[in-house]
């Protein structure tokens, strides 16, 4: 039973970077400048590196010949536990940056806690990942400021992106049963405790970006318990395409 909970927890940790990495991968070659293409690809690579660490571990936990790829690619849509935020599409660069920023701040807080996880494997992965994510935070925060404080158009676009994406932010802090259990076992943090710091950090950057926190948001939940947006099926259709079309082959 405990193994099943640990496996589920690793999915909760690994699915966010998987889907966000996938979204960033779509952008490669289509960004506003070569330098930003390279930067966003770097972030995607960091995320997939983390995914591989989590899912190699998950494969060991669940056994039965599972691999990082079978864990990553051979589940049904409702078995993915990523938050709704990361599956939101690359509408424009403002959405990309805003989505990144809202996730990065959370991700950094999470990893900081996971470094002292009682599970040594998870703690080791967090130690390795946190430096990468510190940079992601720098990158997305400075871009928030650039776009917010840039031109009228960029401020307007970022405001729109923030207004849209903010509704998905609180899901990150709403613990699932697995996360509550892991917090009790000292494997993961109590997510609700991270929320106030998150709000404060987001607010600070929003102010520096000349944006205001969206008011009266009806928050959306569901991804972490397998109920996703309409985008998810299409993401998986691409992500799983080869594994589904050509099952049981080596690549």
């Amino acid at each position: 039973m405990e193994q099943k909970a640990l496996y589920d927890y690793l999915l909760l940790l690994g699915d966010n970077p998987t889907i966000l990495g996938q979204r960033l991968g779509e952008l490669c070659g289509h960004g506003p400048e070569l330098e930003t293409d390279i930067a966003l690809t770097n972030i995607s690579l960091d995320l997939f590196g983390q995914v591989r660490n989590y899912f190699q571990y998950a494969a060991e936990v669940i056994g039965n010949g599972a691999t990082e790829d079978s864990v990553a690619m051979l589940r049904h849509e409702h078995e993915y536990k990523n938050a709704l935020l990361v599956e939101q599409p690359n509408r424009d660069f403002a959405y990309v940056i805003c989505r990144q920023f809202l996730f990065d701040i959370f991700h950094q807080l999470l990893l900081n806690e996971l470094m002292s996880s009682k599970n040594e494997r998870i703690s080791a992965i967090a130690h390795k990942s946190v430096k990468e994510v510190d940079y992601h935070v720098d990158f997305s925060s400075t871009w928030m400021k650039r776009l917010g404080d840039g031109t009228e158009e960029s401020n307007q676009r970022l405001t729109e992106a923030m207004g849209f994406l903010w509704r998905y932010s609180m899901e990150l802090f709403k613990p699932t049963e697995t996360e509550t259990l892991m917090a009790e076992m000292g494997v993961g943090p109590d997510l609700s405790e991270l929320k106030p710091i998150y709000m404060e950090r987001v607010n600070t950057t929003l102010q520096a970006s000349k944006l205001v926190m969206p008011e009266k948001t009806t928050y959306q939940y569901g991804g972490k318990t397998g109920r996703h947006t309409e985008y998810m099926g299409y993401i998986l259709a691409e992500f799983q395409y080869m594994q589904r079309a050509y099952p049981n082959m080596k690549w």
């Binding site: 400048e33 070569l34 330098e35 930067a39 770097n42 940079y135 400075t142 650039r146």
Partner: protein, 94 residues
């Protein structure tokens, strides 16, 4: 108005104790972005531990047409090199 991000020259120190060396150029809107871009463009394969960025327009280069007068006079000043001085072979630690 020029809409190009300005061009920057990037200097990377590959490890502690070495000099920064010119790695190449890139475009960035400001110095902070130049540092981030330099990190992403020029240190993907662990090429560096420190980065300097200078906007290219701030670099003054010597005139290649004057390279004769600037650099050739040093050619015959061999007395600046240790091999100019003849000392006995048995002399040690010098």
């Amino acid at each position: 108005m020029n809409k190009d991000w300005p061009i920057w020259e990037i200097f990377i120190r590959s490890k502690n104790g070495l000099d920064h060396r010119h790695a190449g150029s890139l475009h960035a809107a400001d110095a902070e972005m130049a540092i981030q871009n330099a990190r992403d463009v020029y240190t993907r394969r662990q090429e560096g531990v420190s980065v300097w960025v200078v906007e290219s327009k701030h670099i003054t280069a010597s005139n290649p047409e004057k390279s004769g007068e600037l650099f050739e006079p040093a050619k015959d000043k061999v007395y600046r090199h240790p091999t100019f001085y003849n000392l006995p072979d048995e002399l040690k630690h010098m």
